[in-house]
Amino acid sequence: MKRDLVAAGALWLILTAIGELLAVFVDFYPLAKADKGEDIEHAFRVLVYFAVPVFTMVVAVLVYSFLRQHTTEFPTDDGPPLQGRGSIPLAWFVITSALTLAIAIYPGLVSIPNIFGDEPNPDLVVEVEGMQWTWFVSYPQHDVARVSELVLPVDRTVRFNITSRDVLHSFWIPGFLMKIDAVPGRTTTISLKPTKTGSYQTDPNLRVQCAELCGLFHSKMRIPVSVVSDEEFAAWLEEQAGAADAAPLSEETEAADALSGGIER
């Protein structure tokens, strides 16, 4: 019995070592292109480090029990009558409770103010309206209204004020790892700071993707995102202001845009 504990323990340690090495070196994490996305990715990694030994412990017991004694014929004798009435369940209870509280506090509770908090004085305010089946983006500080692409300057804080005209949508930028639902009758907010330049053409995760089932063209309710330098952003704003003067949008053309616009409908 003691030898079995040592052997299973060794199996657990080996599996844990392999698991943690994979967790550190294999890059299966999403690539974050915003400050909060990086924090979320970090929280994800921390949870993986916690999860590996839990996972390997169960697997070690499962595998070791199988290797130690299994039969395809009816067993000739019964196993040892371990009832589990002693201190083992109590120890298990205490340890799992402590682990649970630990991860609830970090990365859980500790990260909430940062991830969910709003930037009180953002460099840029962006208003977003969801509508079946596209997004309208406005920049009230720059008189750019209702375009169907999102362009952001790199390393500037942005606050998104999000709402919906019809049904629930969810404003998700996979490359930033951030999302919040767009709810008719409410304004929801997220704040973040893009940290790397890029565009939808080179990184498909730089897109605003509707993540809440919203009817027929839900899967195609996406518009491109570009993160650019300050100069490029200023140039883009100017271009948009000019375009808006030339052709002010009416409700009808918006609806038509909604059906034909966005990406590759």
Partner: protein
């Protein structure tokens, strides 16, 4: 041992259809009456006589009463209310198509119905995976896809609610506690016969445009879409009633019908898990039904519970919905976990490790499940002050869940593992539910959930908990109890082949979905960005293998039903009561009331008394173990 049911030869095959036909006729009559009532009222108010959703709602309400009375409530129950004598139901195979009071027949009715629905919704899953072979969608348009996905979702949820509880719960809970039947056999039959209208509604919703809002039916979308949404809502209310009556019946049965000596500390663990699930079903199902009723009223009666433009609140719906639907996932999975522990103990030839802690785990989950619902809503736009408390309660629920793992692992440890198909499935549950549980932590943790919610990470997670734990347990339970229910043995080689194909197919289908979720694939989409195609093709092909494994299962079941070897009373040499009576058990379950004097899992315990002694039953050589 005579089997009452086999005494009489059926008079005619057609006679089996009589109650069903009468149910349909009376149901149609009730429907007509409801529609006519609305027509008269509307005509009186100077409006058109027919209003699709209003007329159908009232027609359905009376139609379902007609259906129930026609199919058997009148003959076997209602006549009593008027001083008439009730009529006996059919015997022989025809009782499976009738309003029958025998809990074992009802168990088989549930099992067969939900296996058929499972295979059907599995076909929808194959269609979904075929569609996702190509980023632009390989086989259907977005509208069709949304409807197929919604149908797959709700039918599988129904299967998850009722297959183990309705099937094994009905068949085995009374036998496991040494009772003759459930506490309310007529209510039991009623709760089964509420199910066919649910299936009919869901599968005919296409006739009025189907619905495209998934199984969650969030408004405002579910207030604006086609009238199939009404069928969905009516189906949920009906199914909810069935579920509540079932929960009530199981609770009463377990509390009041236990055999002498069957103390709470000697209850088989599957019964404890059923007890826990029954509490949840009884307490929470009404919230789903209430949410559906509010949707229906918003649609047909101009209320505005959820219409933002008229002062309603779409997020209110999500609170009510998840107030049921989170406990519901434990309604799905607890009986599966109880069944898994049951099989692990018998096939490890060891006592169930830390039995009392495992019971504490089940009851702890029941308690905590009521205060975790808003973790589904971290990014819904609800008040951000709600995030922290729900993060903490949700993480804490992993402690009672951990106790169930402790029990499973302690039971396996140093056991004499007898590798038969049920044991393979039970061990599969431990592995799969481990992945389901560990990934759940990433979703309970609000900061990571901001990215993961509504992605394929979630899809993978809940399929790991529901297929990985519950459906694997269901399959294990079918192989475990097949010899008891049919008197015949399944084919062991085909059973193990089914397990390995299903286990590998399942893991290779759903493991890559975690990666997809992390790399920008959100759920419920008919098309996706082209960079994800490679992994999606792999997932689809593995999904087809998973689906194919069920062909082996069905073949094995049907073949063994006819040609399987005689199983005998106790092929597994297990201690619990169902193995102390013949296979299949007699109608009254026990020839004389059993006396329980020992623990169900005392394998290898020196001097331990038998769990139960069945007086004068066949197989008296078995009771001494």
């Amino acid at each position: 041992m005579t089997h009452t049911a086999e005494r009489e030869a059926p008079a005619s095959a057609w006679s089996a259809l009589v109650p069903l036909a009468r149910g349909v006729l009376w149901g149609l009559a009730g429907f007509g009456l409801g529609v006519a009532l609305i027509a008269v009222l509307r005509a009186g108010a100077g409006r058109s006589a027919w209003s699709l959703e209003l007329s159908i709602t009232f027609g359905y309400a009376l139609g379902i009463v007609g259906w129930l009375f026609g199919v058997g409530v009148w003959e076997r129950w209602g006549r009593e209310w008027f001083g008439l004598s009730t009529k006996e139901g059919p015997t022989g195979w025809q009782r499976y198509f009738a309003f029958t009071l025998d809990h074992k027949v009802i168990g088989i009715q549930y099992l067969a119905t939900f296996l058929l629905l499972f295979l059907l919704a599995g076909l929808f899953a194959v269609l979904i995976r075929a569609q996702l072979l190509s980023p632009e969608g390989a086989v259907m348009g977005e509208g069709t896809y949304n409807q197929v996905m919604s149908l797959h979702g709700i039918i599988m949820v129904a299967v998850a609610v009722a297959s183990i509880i309705g099937g094994f719960g009905n068949y085995f809970v009374p036998i496991l506690i040494g009772a003759e039947d459930v506490a309310f056999p007529r209510v039991n039959a009623l709760s089964f016969w509420l199910v066919p209208p649910v299936a009919v509604l869901l599968l005919t919703a296409q006739a009025v445009g189907g619905w495209d809002s998934g199984w969650t039916a969030y408004p405002p979308l579910s207030l604006q879409n086609a009238s199939g949404q009404l069928f969905f809502s009516l189906a949920i209310i009906t199914f909810g009633l069935s579920s509540i009556l079932g929960g009530l019946n199981f609770l009463t049965t377990i509390i009041y019908m236990r055999a002498p000596g069957m103390t709470w500390g000697r209850l088989p663990i599957f019964v404890w898990s059923m007890f826990s699930a029954a509490i949840l079903a009884l307490l929470f199902t009404q919230f789903f039904a209430a949410a559906m009723l509010m949707l229906i009223l918003d649609r047909i009666a101009d209320t505005s519970f959820f219409k933002a433009a008229e002062g309603g609140e779409p997020i209110l719906y999500q609170h009510i919905f998840w107030f049921y639907s989170h406990p519901a996932v434990y309604i799905f999975v607890l009986p599966g976990l109880g069944l898994t522990l049951e099989i692990l103990a018998h096939f490890s030839r060891k006592p169930l490790f830390a039995y009392r802690w495992a019971v504490g785990g089940f009851l702890g989950i029941v308690g905590l499940s009521a205060i975790v619902w808003a973790h589904h809503m971290f990014v819904s736009g609800m008040d951000k002050r709600l995030i922290a408390p729900f993060l903490v309660t949700t993480e804490i629920i992993s402690v009672p869940t951990g106790l169930i793992f402790l029990s499973a692992l302690g039971t396996l440890w140093m056991g004499r593992l007898w590798i038969r198909t049920p044991m393979l499935f039970a061990m599969g549950v431990v592995f799969n539910f481990l992945i389901g549980g560990v990934t759940g932590i990433f979703l309970a943790d609000a900061p990571t959930d901001v990215n993961l919610s509504d992605t394929y990470f979630v899809v993978a997670h809940f399929h790991y908990t529901i297929i990985g734990a519950e459906i694997f347990a269901l399959m294990g339970g079918i192989y475990y109890w097949f010899p008891k229910m049919t008197g015949r043995m399944y084919d062991e080689r085909l059973g193990q082949l089914h397990f390995w194909l299903m286990f590998l197919g399942f893991n290779l289908t759903f493991l890559p979905m975690f990666w997809l979720g992390l790399h920008g694939m959100n759920r419920r989409i008919a098309t996706y960005t082209p960079d994800l195609q490679g992994v999606n093709i792999f997932v689809s092909v593995m999904g087809f293998i998973l689906a194919a494994s069920f062909l082996i299962f069905v073949f094995n079941l049907l073949r063994s039903l006819v040609w399987g070897a005689q199983a005998g009373a106790d092929p597994w040499r297990a201690r619990t009561l169902e193995w102390q009576v013949s296979s299949p058990p007699p109608v009254e379950n026990f020839p004389a009331p059993p006396v329980v004097s020992g623990h169900p899992y005392d394998y290898g315990v020196p001097g331990a008394p038998a769990h139960g002694v069945v007086g004068m039953a066949g197989g008296s050589d078995e009771v001494s173990r």
